[in-house]
C-alpha cells in the first residue's frame, strides 16, 4: 500500500465530502438532503481510515466504529421525524416547513 | 512461462471459481428436479417422470422452455432497475459462496507434467480465506435484501411492492437472529474464520456445534429457513397470497435468475449449516480421515431437510412470522450468547 495511494484516498474523501455539501445545498426533498449528510459522514470515515493506515494507529478504526454506530442511531431518529412531519403536512419539500419565519 | 506470485494466486483462484460456479449451477438444476420428485413422493403422487428416464431431463426441458418464453416488461416500469434486480439477486447469492470452505487444504502431488509453481503446492479448498469470513457472509445476506426490494419496486405494481417489502422485512428481521446465533460459535472458536470454526469441531461427533450449542443450532435452522424464503416462511411468494409476490411481473430468463438466486441461497445456507454446526469435512468418528465428501454429504442432507420441511409444515401468517422472529428468536439467541459466554469464561479460568 503505497503512500501516494493513501494521499489519493484522502483526495477521494474530499471529493465525496464536497459532493455531499453541494447536495445539501441543492436538493429539495428532505430525505435526499439526509442522504447527502450520510455521504458526508462516509467521506469522513474514509479520511479516518486513511489516516489510521498512514500512522499505523488503530484509534482511527475505533472512531470509525463509533461514527457508524452514531450514524445508525441518527438515521433512525431522523427518519422517524421525517415520517411524523410528512404525516403533518403531506409534503417532503424543505421549503414548505417555514411557519417559524417572521 | 514464469508467473509472478500474484499471477499464480489469481490463476489458482480463477480455476477454483470456474469449478465452483459450474458445480453450483449443476447442483441448482439438479435441485429443481429433486425437489419436485421428493415433494411429489411425500405428497403421495409422482413428480415429473416423462422427460427422459425417471424425468431426469426435466431441468433441461424447463431451461429450454424458459429460454424461449417472451420477456415482458410492464408499462411504466423502471427499465434499468427492472433488469438489474434479478442480476443483483444472483450476484449476491453467488458472492456468499466465495468464503464457504468445502474441505481442508490439499497438497497437489508431484506428477511431473505441471508447471513447477504448481507441483506440491498447498491449495486451500476455499475461494477466499478471509479472516472475517463469518461477518462477510452476514454482510452479503444483508445485501441480498436489495435484489428483492428492487424487484418489487421496479415493476410498477402495488402487489409486487407490498410483496417485496414484506419479503425484505422478513429477511432482515431473521438476519438479526441469524447473526446472533453465529456469535456464540465465534466465541467458542475464538476467530471469525470459518476454517477455525470448523476445526473447533474436530475430534468426535460430540464436539459438533449442533450438539454442544444446541440452542444456537435451533435458532440458526429457523432463521436460515426464513432468510431463504422457504416454507414455512414463504408467504411473500406463495401463489395463494399476493399472486407471486415480488416476482409476479417477471418472465422467462429474469424469472429463472430470481429462482436461481433463491436456490443458490438455499445451497449456501445448507453449506453453512454443514460447516458451522455439523463439523464440515470432519467425519465425527475419530480415525476416519477428513474429506470434502463428508461435507457434501452433510450439505445434501440439509437440502433434503429443506425439502422435507416444505412437504410437511404449513406456512406462517405474516404477523405470526414477525412476532416469532423478533419476540422469540432474538431473545433466545441473546440468552444463549450469555450462557455460552459464561461457559467460555468458566472453562478458561
Amino acid at each position: 500500500m503505497s503512500p501516494t495511494l493513501i494521499q489519493h484516498a484522502l483526495l477521494l474523501s474530499l471529493v465525496l465530502f464536497a459532493i455531499g455539501v453541494v447536495g445539501v445545498f441543492l436538493r429539495r426533498n428532505v430525505i435526499t438532503v439526509f442522504m447527502c449528510v450520510e455521504l458526508m459522514l462516509n467521506a469522513v470515515n474514509l479520511a479516518f481510515i486513511a489516516f489510521s493506515r498512514a500512522w499505523g494507529n488503530l484509534e482511527g478504526q475505533v472512531l470509525v466504529f463509533f461514527v457508524l454506530t452514531v450514524a445508525a442511531a441518527e438515521a433512525a431518529v431522523g427518519l422517524a421525524i421525517i415520517i411524523s412531519i410528512h404525516r403533518h403536512k403531506d409534503t417532503l419539500d424543505v421549503d414548505a416547513f417555514n411557519i417559524m419565519k417572521w | 512461462m514464469s508467473l509472478s506470485p500474484l499471477q499464480q494466486e489469481l490463476a489458482i483462484s480463477v480455476v477454483k471459481v470456474l469449478v465452483l460456479f459450474n458445480a453450483l449451477l449443476g447442483l441448482f438444476s439438479g435441485m429443481t428436479y429433486v425437489e419436485r420428485r421428493v415433494l411429489a413422493f411425500m405428497q403421495f403422487r409422482l413428480g415429473p417422470n416423462r422427460t427422459g428416464p425417471f424425468g431426469i431431463l426435466q431441468p433441461i426441458a424447463d431451461g429450454i422452455k424458459l429460454f424461449f418464453k417472451e420477456e415482458l416488461t410492464p408499462a411504466g416500469a423502471n427499465k434499468f432497475l427492472f433488469v438489474a434486480a434479478p442480476a443483483l439477486a444472483v450476484v449476491t447469492a453467488f458472492l456468499a459462496i466465495a468464503v464457504v470452505p468445502y474441505g481442508g487444504s490439499v497438497t497437489l502431488p508431484r506428477w511431473g507434467w505441471m508447471p513447477d509453481w504448481l507441483e506440491g503446492r498447498r491449495i486451500v479448498l476455499q475461494i477466499s480465506d478471509l479472516d472475517v469470513g463469518v461477518l462477510f457472509l452476514f454482510a452479503i445476506s444483508s445485501l441480498g435484501v436489495y435484489g428483492i426490494v428492487m424487484a418489487g419496486w421496479a415493476a410498477n405494481n402495488k402487489y409486487t411492492l407490498i410483496g417485496g417489502l414484506r419479503s425484505s422485512a422478513q429477511m432482515f428481521s431473521y438476519e438479526l437472529a441469524l447473526g446472533l446465533s453465529f456469535v456464540s460459535l465465534i466465541m467458542v472458536a475464538g476467530s471469525f474464520r470459518i476454517h477455525d470454526i470448523v476445526d473447533s469441531q474436530a475430534g468426535s461427533i460430540l464436539h459438533w456445534n449442533a450438539l454442544r450449542q444446541f440452542p444456537a443450532f435451533a435458532v440458526f435452522l429457523v432463521a436460515a429457513t426464513a432468510e431463504v424464503n422457504r416454507t414455512p416462511f414463504d408467504l411473500p411468494e406463495a401463489e395463494t397470497e399476493l399472486v407471486a409476490g415480488f416476482h409476479t411481473e417477471y418472465s422467462s430468463m429474469r424469472f429463472a435468475l430470481l429462482q436461481m438466486a433463491e436456490y443458490i441461497n438455499m445451497i449456501t445456507a445448507s453449506a453453512l449449516a454443514a460447516n458451522l454446526f455439523l463439523g464440515g469435512w470432519h467425519f465425527g468418528i475419530p480415525g476416519v480421515p477428513d474429506s470434502p465428501l463428508w461435507f457434501i454429504g452433510k450439505m445434501l442432507a440439509f437440502l433434503f431437510f429443506f425439502i422435507w420441511l416444505r412437504g410437511t409444515v404449513p406456512r406462517f401468517r405474516y404477523d405470526q412470522l414477525m412476532h416469532f422472529g423478533w419476540k422469540v428468536l432474538v431473545p433466545v439467541a441473546m440468552a444463549w450468547i450469555f450462557v455460552a459466554a459464561g461457559l467460555v469464561l468458566w472453562r478458561q479460568s
Binding site: A9, I19, R27, Q61, L68, A71, I83 | L6, V145
Partner: protein
C-alpha cells in the same frame, strides 16, 4: 503485474465507482434512484476500506450502513410513496451554479493544503477484529462503548415514540 499495480487498479476502480454514484445521487430527481446510487457508493467505499487494510471495518460498513441504514431509508421512501421532486419555481439556475461553485471552492482549498503537505507514511498495522476489540473493550474506549449502547437505546425509544400514530379517541 505486481501487487502494487493490482492494488492501484482496484483502488481507482472503486474510487471512480464511488464518485460516479455520488454524482448520480446528487443529480437524480427521484429519491429512490438516489438511494440506490448511495448504496453503490457505500459498497465501493467498503472496497476502499478493505484495500486500506481494514477488513473488519469494511465488512461492518456493509452490514451497518449498506445493509441496515439504507434499507431503513428505502422502506421510508417506499412507504411514504415519495414521487420525483419538481423544479423549484424560478431562479433555480443561478442558485445551482453558486452552490456548485462553493463546493468547488471548498474542495480546492482543502485539496491545495492536502497536495502541498508532504505525502503521508504507510506504516503497516494489524487491523484485525481482535486488535480493534482490544482497544474497544480492554483499553481506553470501554466507557465510550457503553455510552454508545445507551445512545442507541435512547434513539430506539425516541424513534418509536416519534413515529407512532396517536391512538384515536
Amino acid at each position: 503485474m505486481s501487487l502494487e499495480l493490482f492494488h492501484a487498479i482496484l483502488f481507482y476502480a472503486f474510487a471512480a465507482a464511488a464518485v460516479a454514484a455520488a454524482l448520480v445521487m446528487v443529480s437524480q430527481r427521484n429519491p429512490t434512484y438516489s438511494a440506490f446510487a448511495l448504496i453503490v457508493t457505500l459498497v465501493s467505499l467498503a472496497g476502499v476500506f478493505g484495500l486500506l487494510g481494514s477488513t473488519f471495518i469494511a465488512v461492518l460498513q456493509i452490514v451497518v450502513y449498506a445493509g441496515a441504514i439504507m434499507v431503513l431509508f428505502l422502506f421510508v421512501l417506499m412507504l411514504l410513496n415519495v414521487r420525483a421532486e419538481d423544479r423549484p419555481p424560478g431562479g433555480g439556475r443561478v442558485f445551482m451554479l453558486v452552490a456548485i461553485a462553493l463546493g468547488a471552492v471548498l474542495a480546492g482549498e482543502v485539496g491545495s493544503v492536502l497536495v502541498a503537505a508532504r505525502t503521508p507514511l504507510a506504516r503497516p498495522f494489524d487491523a484485525s477484529a481482535r486488535a480493534v476489540a482490544h482497544l474497544l473493550f480492554e483499553a481506553q474506549y470501554l466507557y465510550v462503548f457503553e455510552a454508545t449502547s445507551i445512545l442507541i437505546l435512547a434513539s430506539l425509544v425516541g424513534a418509536i415514540a416519534l413515529a407512532k400514530r396517536d391512538p384515536g379517541p
